[in-house]
């Protein structure tokens, strides 16, 4: 019986009888929770997403026989509680973020990381991602139209291609900055 299964297995079974489909649903829910927490102003959104999933897993033995409806709604309700609790603990920034702080120059470590990560891309993709972000306003729209024409793809496909490349680049830069930061801490602790 499922009662004796590990909580995570029970959660997957609750999401869908087919394990592969259940795993896909789980990934979508976790990614959605992260987006939801970030959008509600919570930093360390992954921690809150895991906290939400843990709470659902703990409650599951009590609710799974009686709960009616899409499990996603249950996750949403728990996530809303997590947000409310975080707000009560003042873990959501309420003050306006100073403009000056947000527009500070891209630090040298970050700039070096961007260079490194761009170099990891094939030449045509480097040029593509930089070209895509070249213009502003109406010129940007025209430019994207031209790029799509040159590549013989739709503007929607161009947008998707640019987005996937940007996600890869951003992830690489964040990991690189994190690596730089840890190395600096390591060096200074040995001084």
């Amino acid at each position: 019986m499922t009662d004796n299964k590990e909580p995570f297995d029970a959660l997957l079974e609750w999401l869908d009888a087919d394990r592969e489909t259940a795993a896909q649903r789980y990934e979508v829910i976790r990614a959605g929770l992260i987006r939801m927490f970030i959008s509600n102003g919570l930093s360390d959104a992954e921690h809150y997403a895991d906290e939400t999933i843990d709470r659902v897993m703990k409650r599951l033995p009590e609710i799974k026989e009686t709960y009616v409806g899409d499990p996603v709604k249950y996750f949403h309700g728990v996530a809303r509680n997590v947000i409310r609790e975080a707000r009560r603990r003042k873990e959501v920034l309420i003050d306006i973020v100073p403009d000056r702080f947000l527009q500070e120059p891209y630090k040298s470590d970050a700039s070096e990381c961007l260079s490194q990560c761009l170099r990891l891309l094939p030449r045509d993709k480097q040029e593509f991602i930089l070209d895509y972000h070249l213009y502003k306003g109406h010129a940007k729209i025209e430019h994207h139209r031209e790029m799509a024409g040159e590549l013989a793809i739709t503007e929607g496909a161009l947008r998707t291609r640019a987005h996937h490349l940007r996600v890869t680049l951003e992830k690489c830069v964040l990991e690189c900055i994190d690596h730089f930061g840890r190395n600096k801490t390591h060096v200074s602790s040995h001084r």
Partner: protein
């Protein structure tokens, strides 16, 4: 990735700027938890808002909402710094390349083509052009002699309900002009066969409907007779008309001033 329509896109933007009520916000959040493709589209809109903020392309009120709401989490602040670095790098590295690759304009291309032709071809083409222009003028003059020229202005929708200085176009209505022809660029991703109602409002928010003279996938053309408009500030609102005659307002307005 799903392509969401402009109304859904505006709703996601409103959610990201903290402008949706709880019910609408819940709808967006439930979709985020159940639709992977929507999640990806959501991320694209997050990046667009971030880029527009970095590029100083947002209206003052949206900019304030970005600072007050959108950028509260450190994840978004990191994203902002990354966007700043990426846009700066693009301008530095590819800006120069783009300037070098600028395509010759129409005049340059016509000139290059013209000078490459033989003298006889150029003479024959000039003669044919004179004949055609003269013919067109002869045909056109009787129909236009008694009608003045419409003042013309083409407007893009502003994603705001308040006019911002640089976005307001001015149109000069000369004495004798029969009116103003207004070309309204339609927001992207609206269905091509959509029906619309166009509403003109003056400074006192007095509204009247304008007749749509022409409609394509990308624009609407409306005409305001000269005797129905006087100098002042105006804005146009657009409504999508559903087959059951219900209406949904398209977010934003078209602003212009008549002198």
């Amino acid at each position: 990735m799903v392509i969401i329509n402009s109304s859904e896109k505006n709703e996601v933007k409103d959610y990201l700027l903290g402008q949706l009520d709880e019910t609408d916000a819940e709808r967006i959040e439930l979709r985020l938890l159940s639709d992977a493709a929507f999640g990806e589209e959501f991320d694209v809109i997050v990046n667009e808002i971030t880029d527009d903020y970095v590029g100083d392309e947002l209206h003052a009120d949206d900019r304030k909402r970005v600072q007050e709401y959108f950028l509260r989490s450190t994840e978004r602040q990191n994203k902002l710094r990354f966007a700043g670095g990426l846009l700066e790098r693009a301008a530095v590295e590819r800006g120069a390349a783009a300037r070098e690759q600028v395509q010759p304009g129409l005049i340059e291309r016509v000139h290059a083509f013209w000078t490459s032709q033989s003298l006889l071809t150029r003479f024959a083409t000039t003669f044919a052009a004179i004949v055609i222009v003269a013919g067109v003028l002869l045909l056109a003059i009787p129909g236009t002699r008694n009608s003045g020229t419409y003042a013309f202005v083409n407007l893009s929708i502003s994603n705001s309900d308040r006019a911002v200085g640089s976005e307001i176009k001015t149109v000069r209505l000369e004495p004798g002009s029969p009116g103003i022809r207004i070309e309204l660029s339609l927001p992207e991703q609206l269905p091509p066969s959509q029906s619309y109602r166009v509403e003109l409002r003056d400074e006192k928010e007095v509204a009247r409907n304008l007749k749509i003279e022409q409609q394509t996938e990308a624009k609407l053309v409306v005409v305001v007779p000269a005797n129905e408009i006087s100098p002042g500030s105006y804005f146009v609102r657009l409504y999508a008309v559903n087959p059951d005659r219900t209406e949904q307002r398209i977010r934003g307005s078209y602003f212009f001033t008549v002198r």
